[in-house]
Symmetry: C2
Subunit: 240 residues, 2 copies
């Protein structure tokens, strides 16, 4: 199979409550090595050879400021900032609407995964180029995973899952543009996972190997790890 042969674009939904500039410590603007997480994420996408355009969905009231923030930092591709919606899904939809006609592959990326290696972005894009309609990076799950249920005020184990068949899914998630647009058009509830929309629409989703460094910065220790990874990259002479 061969896939589309046009341009790949990155989409970064960053219009959630945690990302509003007025809201105390907006998540995407928390800094890592002096640079906001969002800027790291956009730069990492843009650094991929495959990517010619990145669309960021910002909180509507902060579009100009996010635009200015991105202008302050060197980014290796064109960046468009649009007003996001009330839900993550609406933000992705608005970003999709801003894509130029030559874009036929879309990479949706979490603003909270600032250190995704460029190799991973290229791997996901290449898998779409080679014919997979939807692609997610995934890693084996390190811990035993159990399903729980509340019983008498405490949490009890219902079952232990077969870990060998589980993957912890990262981003960017890559899609043929028409597949992602159709999945979003068909979706009824809010999705935090674009590949899940494709699955629900009956499409197939391929998993490619993820990267340890594409971890999500959500808990306090994640930021500590991100700082350590960034310090190591700088010590090794990496640009980022």
């Amino acid at each position: 199979m061969t896939g589309p042969a046009g341009t790949a674009a990155g989409v970064v939904p960053a219009a959630g409550r945690g990302e509003r500039l007025g809201a105390g410590a907006p998540k995407a603007l928390r800094t890592l090595g002096g640079v906001p997480l969002l800027v790291h994420a956009v730069r990492a996408l843009a650094a991929a050879r495959a990517v010619g355009l990145v669309v960021v969905a910002a909180p509507p009231e902060d579009v100009a400021q996010v635009r200015a923030l991105l202008d302050d930092h060197e980014v290796a591709a064109e960046v468009v900032v649009v007003a996001g919606g009330a839900t993550r899904q609406e933000s992705v939809r608005r970003a999709l609407a801003a894509l130029t006609p030559d874009v036929d592959v879309v990479l949706v990326h979490d603003a909270a995964r600032p250190l995704v290696p460029v190799e991973l972005v290229d791997r996901v894009a290449a898998a779409v180029r080679h014919g997979a309609p939807a692609v997610v990076p995934g890693l084996p799950v390190a811990d035993t995973v159990k399903r729980v249920a509340p019983v008498d005020g405490s949490e009890q184990v219902v079952e232990t899952l077969d870990r060998s068949a589980l993957r912890a899914v990262q981003t960017p998630q890559g899609f043929r543009r028409d597949v992602l647009e159709a999945a979003h058009a068909a979706a009824t509830d809010d999705a935090t996972d674009d590949a899940g929309l494709v699955e629900r629409a009956g499409g197939s989703v391929t998993v490619v190997p993820g990267s340890e460094e594409a971890f999500k910065v959500t808990r306090p220790l994640d930021l500590l790890l991100a700082e350590a990874v960034l310090a190591r990259r700088r010590a090794n002479g990496s640009l980022q």
Copy 2:
């Protein structure tokens, strides 16, 4: 309900292939801040008020060396080193056989979780003391988790799991001694998860909140994070 009122003991199975002293870079003896992971793990268990004894199952050929290693470092409880078995399960069995009669609560801990906070060890032990026959610490899963299957040489998503009901399980796992012994006596195949044995024997397993710092050191980035956590603890004046 109230539980047992005797002594709690820690059990650390560290006799696996990765832990053999002759084998290049044995996992449990990899150092963190100059101290082997195994020593960190034993110290962390021993630091809990609840714990009066720790039994380490070492590779049979390395018992004397592991004994000497632990003697070189201050540990706040009595430590017994026994020869482990060919499987993890056999190692846990041999460690159980070395427990003194006053022990009625057993905490089984991964040697590869060196930075488990003493509060978590106490929380698990307390839950057993308060009547739960088996207790595991668990954290919500940060990434979306999908189940996969191989299709035509690639990996395809079969389903996206409901993450809200999933817990990534850590150690120490705590047990009433008689419950753990019965589960091990009934087990037929090798277990990497002692609570799983209790589940298979029909017992109930309670989940208590885990700790970010109880993460398992398996991948390269884990060691980087462990060094950063340890450096922060030392900067904060913590003893460990």
